[in-house]
């Protein structure tokens, strides 16, 4: 039957000619290809030491943002956890006390905010759901680790460092 894509190619096995049967020229030719790669720029990189530049829309590790005064933006509204298809996000809200106004922007804040990086599929829906522009997936690749519990990232790893430090 005729193929629809017209990309099919019929292969035939021809008998080897003299030069091919001589064996050594083919070895020399092969080695020359190998040797030529010694002088070319390598296509791979030594990953943890070297890093490639990420594309602009790369989604890596999450970070919880602060506003221009260094206050945490997250108000623990739970929309990121609701939108999360992998159910990786969990949080506990708390009320801002008197004297904490410089730490949190709204009267409610996330006392505990955890993302399970093993569950996370880095789809970026939390970023889209956030009404306060508090969460962005602008970080690096999540580093590897030995224990499952170490992949549950709390606020200590997620919240951005304050600006004036």
């Amino acid at each position: 039957m005729e193929s629809l894509s017209n990309k099919k190619k019929q292969l035939t096995v021809k008998p080897l000619n003299f030069w091919e049967r001589a064996y050594l020229p083919a070895i020399v030719h092969g080695l020359s290809i190998t040797m030529s790669h010694f002088f070319k720029k390598p296509v791979t990189i030594a990953y943890p030491d070297e890093k490639r530049e990420f594309s602009e829309n790369f989604r890596g590790m999450h970070s919880l943002k602060r506003d221009e005064n260094g206050k945490e933006r997250c108000t623990a509204c739970g929309l990121c956890a609701l939108s999360c298809p992998a159910e990786a996000i969990t949080m506990t809200a708390a009320e801002r006390q008197k004297g904490e106004e410089h730490l949190y922007r709204e009267e409610k804040y996330a006392a505990v905010y955890e993302i399970n990086m093993l569950r996370c599929i880095f789809c970026g829906l939390c970023e889209e759901a956030c009404p306060k522009e508090a969460i962005y997936l602008d970080g690096d690749i999540v580093p590897s680790d030995y224990l499952r519990k170490d992949f549950i990232y709390g606020k200590d790893k997620l919240v951005e460092a304050p600006l004036n430090q």
Partner: protein
């Protein structure tokens, strides 16, 4: 009396309001209501979200009414013809009303405990514009604790007066009301006097926005992460029906509210003992999970009982293979 709403005719008794006639028909043609509450006498007529157009006054006087009218306060006439969603004028006016209601609203839904079951949120989502044109400072108030169980955020209030009617009609004596007039009016208790009546907690249920909230539930969890369950108990209070909705998070009851019907109105009022003090599963007789509309945010991201696909329905082998999945009661 015969009245036609958006082309649907219905026979109602004399003295029925247009809104209630529309509710008898049901569906999309029911005008939204923020201040009207069928269980509270005298409520309605304040928020103007239920505006409708009367294209024919009655059989005797077929002239249309000159202006849009509030359907919750207007009684029907024989042969009246009403337009709600079929009238572009009404849709436009309602958009304006929503914008007006939101002028002084802080829009702090991410913080507010009412988010997810807030009528103003639904109304704004369905009828409002995406952006506000208001550029001035919104009015702000300090939040007030009314007793140790109820909290008042006056900034979120839309002055529907429902809570005032609850205090007037459900509780014995009223200590809170509206102070000042017009733009300056605010819900208040004189000298922040505690509302210590047995039925005062019902102001939380009737509040269409997050102005009156449960202090025991404050920032505990978001409504859509909790699981509503219908339950009842024998309440010692003769006026209390004891029929409630329990809102579970895991094994704990974190909130108790009255049961609400499809219009967000409490079916029967409950006492403060049921609402605030009975927060153990052992206090209640569980009736089963509450039916939540699939459009509600409360049911989102919960994986419901599996509905067999048409192909499975026709194939006995597939039916047998998926039997366990279809019989599963709990949500996956």
């Amino acid at each position: 009396m015969k009245v036609t709403i958006d082309g649907f005719p219905i026979e109602v008794e004399a003295g029925t309001t247009i809104l209630n006639a529309a509710r008898l028909i049901g569906g999309d043609i029911v005008p939204p209501a923020m201040c009207y509450y069928s269980k509270l006498e005298g409520s309605g007529g304040k928020c103007r979200t239920c505006l409708v157009q009367v294209t024919k006054g009655s059989d005797k006087d077929p002239r249309p009414m000159p202006k849009l009218i509030a359907s919750c306060r207007t009684t029907v006439m024989d042969g009246m013809e009403v337009k709600n969603i079929t009238s572009p004028e009404v849709i436009e006016a309602r958009k304006g009303v929503v914008e007006m209601l939101l002028i002084n609203h802080p829009l702090d839904c991410p913080v507010c405990d009412q988010a997810g079951e807030c009528h103003l949120q639904d109304l704004g989502y369905e009828h409002g514009a995406a952006k506000t044109r208001y550029e001035f400072d919104r009015r702000t108030f300090e939040r007030i604790d009314i007793g140790d169980k109820i909290q008042l955020h006056m900034t979120r209030c839309i002055l529907c007066y429902r809570c005032v009617f609850v205090a007037d009609q459900i509780t014995d004596h009223r200590i809170h009301g509206i102070l000042n007039r017009g733009d300056h009016s605010e819900i208040s208790t004189y000298i922040q006097k505690a509302v210590d009546n047995d039925f005062s907690g019902n102001v939380i249920d009737v509040c269409p926005v997050g102005a009156l909230t449960d202090r025991t539930f404050r920032f505990k969890n978001r409504v859509w992460f909790t699981k509503p369950v219908e339950a009842h108990r024998e309440c010692e209070n003769p006026k209390c029906c004891g029929k409630v909705t329990l809102w579970y998070k895991g094994e704990d009851v974190i909130r108790v509210t009255a049961r609400k019907d499809e219009y967000g109105e409490a079916e029967e009022f409950i006492c403060n003992t049921c609402r605030f003090d009975k927060k153990k599963t052992s206090d209640w007789v569980i009736e089963g999970p509450r039916k939540v509309s699939h459009k509600s945010v409360i049911s989102s991201n919960h994986y419901d009982t599996l509905k067999p696909l048409p192909v499975v329905k026709q194939n006995l082998v597939l039916q047998e293979a998926n039997k366990e999945q279809f019989e599963r009661e709990t949500r996956l």
